[in-house]
Amino acid sequence: MKTKLKTIYNDYVKFPKYILFHPFDGFEEFKRYKKGKLIVAIVFIILFAFFRVFQYQYTGFIINENNPLMLNSLQEIFSVLLLVVLFSVGNWSVTTLMEGKGSYKEILMVTGYALFPMIIMGFPSVIISNFLTLEEIAFYNLLMYMAVIATGWMLFMGILNIHQYGLFKTLIAFIATLVAMSIMMFLGLLFFDLIQQFISFIAAIYEEISLR
């Protein structure tokens, strides 16, 4: 039992923390010695989706402008999943062409691990925001900014290391990933629109024939 708890602690806290502060060594171990685990990444993604719902509902009253009755947890969860899938697929399709060394699984894992600071700092700061006055709310904002910046840092270093890119090439890869993501969004919307048109066309034909 004790060793099991220890492995969980190592996998979910210690190793991500090590990557955050030692990105090159950390991602070396992550990639070469297979210390990164897919299950950890998936748990982080699920926790992040849960964090979004938690943040919507339980941020302190002073800064929470959301209508609690309008919470749609499915929408929050799907938006997180969509973003993760879009990013990983977009990055994979771009880096394959740009001689990246990372596999799809590794990209997905990096994306999940990158959410670690967001989770580890986000939950406490949302709880803390309930005990702050209007003047002290800057502390909450500081914590959230730090979490966002750390997440961006981990994602950037992760992509840089698993594909074995240089700094400049990583930047190019990120911009290309954004383009790929927007193209996928466009195609998705186009697809939905066409399917809708197609279905209504068939429905109209059916109606015409059945009324004859």
Binding site: F61, I62, I63, N67, M70, F131, T133, L134, E135
Partner: protein
């Protein structure tokens, strides 16, 4: 059976669809039901006065009398506080002083002056000021209805007819401050409100609506040639529609909405020319918050079109939306108090409101469409709200809170009332309940204050417990560390 059911359901639903529904906006922008703040009390029309009204344009209240101008019959009509006609003036003789002044100027024609399509009027202790629009002048009368001055030929290049874009001076609306300075809204003038000195000298434009270009517009304009820019639609600041001065010589002004000032069609301009209106309500004061955009034949679209503003005691002011015939009343903090008004051609409704004015606590609405003055009076709810705000303004928080409690009994949707009650609880240092009330009223600023007090109370009452537990926890952790080090056979004094 079905027929019976239909009839029965109609009986239930018909009254609902025929009565007008009073509403307000919640913190989250939902339209919620509200009790009516004002309701129809009386009407004054041409028949009840015994005069002809064809196109009434503006009215003003001075010394318990109503002054009204009509732009088609060119009359000035004075009505007393019992809503009976005092007199109808078609033309005005010149006062002896003015005749002397004109003689000095070399004028010999002393015939009576009549108006041509007057659009605005203001009355104060120094006289009666009428915007004689189609004569391109402002006529000033004394309280015996004799002309004591006329003001025309404004000295500004906007009105220089020799220039290509020079226009005639066509005053539309006027308001006058205690030192007899006139503030005039003129047709086709985009620079702002004209400030004219007591002797008729044009002074300056005040309260300009600034134009803001987006970075993209600036960039695309920088690429264009002069000819291309000339072909573009002009970026003009929005025109003011009406002005009204309060006792501190601050000008309440309404303007047309445009992309540039979608959120500030209502302004309170201080003597320096800066807009100082408070926008602490849930939404900036601008009439309706939700409206349909895009062409559609079934509903009126676009933002509210505010055409007049009138203020009463304690900074409460009402604006008139001509487009949907609605009256929006705000307090000095910018909270939307109540929305009234009903469109229609019956006597208790109005269809083309052009001017509003407070007459003591009642509100007069001048309707050009039906040529009627509709009088609205405060309901029980509205009177309570106004009373609570005046108490609050005077610093009588206890009385205010008692009245806010009555308001909540009538209309439990009324979020502002909860803040009023919360402020009293906060002063009584009843922080926990105050927090609950501010939460209901969504006032984060005062909630934060109440919370601070509440938190301090808890810390003060449990200071020993908090410090004690901190010492125990820290001591315990240290003790555990020492114990486990010794158990492993190490020493706490040396690193090994």
């Amino acid at each position: 059976m079905i027929k019976l059911f239909t009839l029965a359901s109609l009986l239930v639903t018909m009254p609902v669809s025929f009565i007008s529904v009073n509403y307000n906006y919640s913190y989250y922008g939902e339209t919620i039901h509200s009790a009516p703040g004002m309701t129809f009390a009386a009407y004054i029309n041409a028949q009840s006065l015994g005069v002809t009204l064809t196109s009434p344009e503006d009215l003003v209240v001075y010394d318990e009398e109503i002054y009204l101008v009509d732009s088609n019959t060119n009359n000035l009509i004075v009505i007393d506080n019992g809503f009976n006609l005092v007199k109808e003036y078609v033309s005005f003789s010149l006062s002896t002083e003015y005749q002397d002044y004109l003689t000095d100027q070399g004028v010999v024609d002393f015939s009576d002056i009549s108006l041509d399509s007057p659009h605005g009027i203001d009355v104060n202790d120094s006289g009666i000021y009428i915007c004689d629009t189609s004569n391109f002048r402002i006529v000033k009368l004394n309280h015996d209805f004799e002309v004591i001055a006329t003001f025309q030929d404004m000295d500004d290049k906007t009105f220089d007819l020799e220039l290509d874009d020079g226009i005639e001076f066509e005053p539309m609306k006027i308001t006058v401050d205690a030192s007899e300075r006139m503030y005039v809204v003129a047709k086709g003038v985009y620079e702002g409100i004209m400030e004219i000195n007591y002797d008729g000298d044009f002074n300056r434009f005040t309260g300009v609506n600034p134009i803001v270009l987006t970075p993209f517009e600036i960039f695309s304009r920088s690429l264009m040639t002069e000819e291309q820019i000339a072909q573009l639609q002009l970026f003009l600041p929005t025109e003011y529609t009406n002005v009204s001065i309060n006792e501190k010589s601050f000008i309440y002004a309404t303007s047309k909405t445009s992309e540039n000032n979608a959120d500030n069609p209502i302004q309170l301009i201080n003597p320096k020319g800066v807009d100082v209106i408070t926008r602490n309500g849930y939404f900036p004061p601008k009439g309706d918050i939700h409206y349909v955009i895009g062409s559609n034949n079934y509903v009126i679209e676009g933002p509210s079109e505010l055409v007049d503003i009138s203020s009463t005691d304690h900074g409460i002011y009402t604006v008139l939306d001509q487009k949907r015939s609605r009256l929006f009343t705000y307090d000095s903090e910018g909270n939307l108090l109540y929305i009234n008004g009903d469109e229609g051609s019956q006597s208790d409704k109005f269809s083309e409101g052009v001017a509003i004015e407070y007459f003591n606590d009642d509100l007069l609405i001048l309707d050009r469409g039906t040529k009627t003055i509709v009088v609205y009076q405060l309901t029980e709810f509205g009177a309570y709200v106004n009373q609570a705000i005046s108490y609050h303004d005077e610093g009588k928080f206890e009385e205010a809170a008692l009245i806010w409690e009555e308001v909540v009994k009538i209309n439990s949707n009324y979020e502002i009332a909860f803040n009023g009650i919360g402020k009293l609880l906060l002063r009584q240092e009843n922080y926990k309940e105050a927090m609950e009330y501010f939460k209901l009223g969504h006032d984060t600023y005062y909630y934060s204050k109440a919370f601070k007090g509440y938190r301090n109370d808890i810390i003060k009452n449990n200071f020993g417990l908090i410090i004690g537990s901190m010492v125990v926890v820290a001591g315990g952790l240290m003790g555990y560390k020492v114990y486990s080090t010794y158990k492993k056979g190490g020493s706490i004094l040396y690193e090994d």
